[in-house]
């Protein structure tokens, strides 16, 4: 259940921002989660409510922007989009892919009062 640790990471960031920027309530936490990152958005949403209770983020809505997985195909010499790590290149069906994007797990912005 590393989702719990990730949610604790999110709350840690929200609490630090609250101290720095002086807000008392968070309405929305907006995340950017890549298709090839280490977590499924549904699992994060499931854990977030439990971890956020009794913190400044209590009751906040979690919004997740999904970013696509991208890879460089060494055989086609071009950038392609993939949904999973084990997927072949959509152009040549080969597996000589180097992942170039979609691994992000970031807090993008907060809507606060």
């Amino acid at each position: 259940m590393h989702e719990m640790a990730l949610c604790e990471g999110i709350i840690g960031i929200v609490e630090e921002e609250a101290r720095k920027r002086a807000f008392a309530k968070v309405n929305v936490v907006c995340l950017e989660i890549g298709a090839l990152s280490h977590v499924a958005p549904e699992a994060l949403k499931f854990c977030f409510e439990a971890v956020a209770a009794r913190t400044i983020a209590r009751g906040a809505r979690l919004e997740i922007v999904a970013t696509p997985g991208t890879a460089w195909c060494m055989d086609c010499s071009k950038s392609v989009e993939i949904k999973q790590r084990y997927e072949p290149c959509p152009s040549c069906a080969g597996y000589h892919l180097q992942v170039t994007g979609g691994e992000e797990m970031r807090v993008r912005e907060l809507e606060v009062d």
Partner: protein, 229 residues
Amino acid sequence: MSSERIIQVERDILGKNDRLAADNRARFRADEVLVFNLVSSPGAGKTSLLVRAVSELKDSFPIGVIEGDQQTSNDAERIRATGVAAIQVNTGKGCHLDAAMVGEAYDRLPWLNGGLLFIENVGNLVCPAAFDLGEACKIVVFSTTEGEDKPLKYPDMFAASALMLINKIDLAPVLDFDLARTVEYARRVNPGIEVMTVSARTGEGFSAFYAWIRKRWAKLKQAERTAQG
């Protein structure tokens, strides 16, 4: 009037762990210690593999081991029986080691100046993939009893590892284990992954593994000398 406002944050969720991992990495570099993070599913044979490796390498290098498990100090005791220093980290309900745990465990080890540190992560092919501990690289231990398609089922871990050690190779004949298919699947998720077959029970394949370690160790020394000018 609503006081609602939007604050741009743009921070990595694992940023705190990554900063602590960077601190660990700087300490390992200062001590010239080569660090491997061993990951696998439970029962792949990480500890048996380590017991053999540290027994056979301890006359060549200062060696330390950090053992991660949810409970018990059984694994650290198995390592200590070889005469090598080991620190047990119990994660309780936690499913992975993080950089803070490794930093604290490293404080409790003797000085490994110019040596090797093996971190045996919690047996789990999912969560430890996300957590940088400051290691030089991850080594995924896969055993022949697990089924050839493990790399496809748990792609993140195989993508995050530099080396796949295929353990229990002595059992391959009775299992009808398909080595070529396993390697093909692993390279679908990580075209650059290196592969070696070993048996922690018989010792088969370990000399190649040690040669791989020595090569990486020599590279680290080379990099240090270049950095020092």
